[in-house]
């Protein structure tokens, strides 16, 4: 197991080096004059000179690259050109919003997707299967922002059951002490149950919108995995020896169908981070996604560069954890 983990860790190194080269090029090899691109058309020559010095644009390219990598290794992901705040601190203050949203979306996707997939497999080729197939087809075909807008229209504007945007009612939560930036945690820490419920109500629609694609994929894979395992000899044996259907399902089918399902759940993390960009825009959600989009609007290249790097690092770590978890569950991978 340790050997496998080390091997996977080593394999991540070339990817990290490549990533640092790409993101280095992103700022240092901007098409045209980097100063005009970064500071805008009306930048003064003095400002340009300062930028050149800060970025070391007059140095040879390899020296610029080495100093960039040196900064990264020291945990310096650059600073915003607009407000000079370090990218890492800004990221850290917004990331909990994105994580909260992504976890809620994943819980929704797993909580609904797996039962749907099992249901479809149990009644394969029947009308239940047909309905689940249609649901998952819609899930992968409807953009998160369209679904988000439709949900807002139905449940917030028309029915007025849920709020339209934001993470919490700002007026009611004016005196809430922000500790972790996870609204659900902070409200509980403050002992404010009313605000906790409010935060949950704010979370429901964005989580459903963001979770729609993973839900569809998880339902499909679960259905396929369960059908695959159901044809195995040991399942037939379990049935033949008279086990109850429920027990066959839990002990013999699901235990073996889990593997592909877990892999697919892990693979959804990248999609969630990407989808969060759009979901946060629809719901005016304070998270990393909206921040990056705003940074692009402001041509704040350092924020984009730093944020993409951190995003990619997180994505790599999650994928690594999924692979290791998978290897732990499936000895065949470990020893290959």
């Amino acid at each position: 197991m340790l050997k496998y983990t080390v091997r996977r860790l080593l394999a991540a190194i070339p990817v990290l080096i490549g990533l640092s080269m790409v993101l280095f090029a992103f700022v240092h090899l901007l098409p045209g004059d980097p100063c005009r691109a970064i500071l805008g058309q009306h930048a003064t020559p003095e400002a340009c000179a300062r930028l050149r010095e800060n970025l070391g644009l007059d140095l040879p390219l390899w020296q610029q690259y080495l100093s960039y990598v040196g900064d990264l290794l020291r945990g310096d992901f650059g600073s915003s050109i607009i407000n000079n705040k370090p990218v890492l601190t800004e990221f850290a203050s917004r990331f909990p919003g994105t994580v909260e949203l992504s976890i809620a979306a994943l819980l929704f996707a797993v909580g609904v997707g797996i039962p749907l997939g099992r249901l479809a497999a149990r009644h394969a080729q029947g009308w239940t299967d047909g309905i689940v197939t249609v649901i998952s087809l819609f899930g992968i075909s409807i953009p998160v922002f369209v679904l988000g807008l439709v949900l807002v229209y139905v449940f917030a504007v028309q029915l007025q059951w849920l709020p339209t945007q934001g993470r919490i009612d700002a007026r009611a939560a004016a005196d809430l002490k922000i500790v972790t930036n996870f609204m659900l945690v902070d409200t509980l820490l403050a002992g404010r149950l009313d605000l906790f419920v409010d935060a949950v109500r704010h979370l429901i629609l964005p989580a459903i919108a963001l979770g729609s694609i993973p839900l569809a994929i998880i339902a499909r894979i679960t259905r396929a995995a369960v059908l695959d395992v159901s044809n195995e000899d040991y399942v037939r044996t379990a049935r033949a020896k008279g086990l109850k259907e429920r027990r066959v399902d839990d002990r013999h089918v699901m235990r073996n169908a889990w593997l592909p399902v877990i892999t697919v759940i892990g693979l959804q993390v990248g999609g969630l981070l990407g989808g969060a960009v759009l979901t946060e825009t629809v719901f005016s959600w304070t998270g990393v996604g909206r921040w990056v989009v705003d940074a692009i609007g402001n041509r704040d290249y350092f924020v984009v560069q730093g944020a993409v790097m951190i995003f990619a690092l997180i994505f790599l770590v999650v994928n690594l954890l999924v692979d290791i978890g998978y290897a732990y569950l499936n000895p065949r991978i470990r020893y290959s």
């Binding site: 990817v15 990533l19 990407g274 692009i296 995003f311």
Partner: protein, 298 residues
Amino acid sequence: MSSAVNAGVSAVLESRVSHGLWSDAFRRLMRNRPAIVGLVCIVVFVGAAILAPIIAPYGPLEGTLAARLQAPSWQHLMGTDLQGRDVFTRILYGAQISLQVGVISVLMALLMGGFVGALAGGIGGRVDAVLMRATDVLLAIPGILLAIGIIAWLDRGMTQLMLAIAITYSPIFARLLRGSLLALRETDYVIASRSVGASRGRLLLRHMLPNALTPLIVQATLVLATAIIDIAGLGFLGLGPPDPRTPEWGTMLTDARRFLQQAPHLVLFPGAAIVISAIGFNLLGDGLRESLDPKMKR
């Protein structure tokens, strides 16, 4: 008697031979009901794009502020937008943009990814290792974020949009083709032609590539669905066509968000257009996968 039987057998054989992989696959596709539904969606989508100048009742940029935010009526089947432009007309013209950007960017992704995959899988060794690490780098940046970054770098524009989508999806094709080529390298017919002295190029072009194409075609169809969604997503974020008046489906939704209460039709119709075209390519892709792979269980 025996000559009659022989003639019968050879007729049967001939009729069998005359059905190639593609015509067989086509017949299987035509028996696949979901795929037919997908094809119908695609025909509607492509038809709207091609016939837009003929069937659109108005011009895509034509409208008066006096007629703004009107609900659907006989005059304006899908209502009017913030500038009083006819939504139905703009959706028809929007199909042109989605179709054009979608198809061109997926073709570019197919070519770029296919080239890298063919090099990696065909040559192997160090070339393979380097190219695959490069695709790993691109895959390490979550989907739409990569496209966003590329547009931020290249600035907004139609060509940039296509390039961004193409680069984002090319690693998928590179990996897929490489994987198929690696598997094909060990097949009997490739080993056979290698043993009679076929050159590496001939092996790759004549024997391996043609047999590796089917998964690529299936994947390209499915990616087209995602690409259409991503193009709209970039438009929605304000990173689509540089001219904000362009009738692009995602860009149309940006305004709609602010007027959800007064004018829900501004979300409904462009949203439905995106969903229908994505469903079309998803269903067709699944259908193609089933019909191109005879071994696949239905």
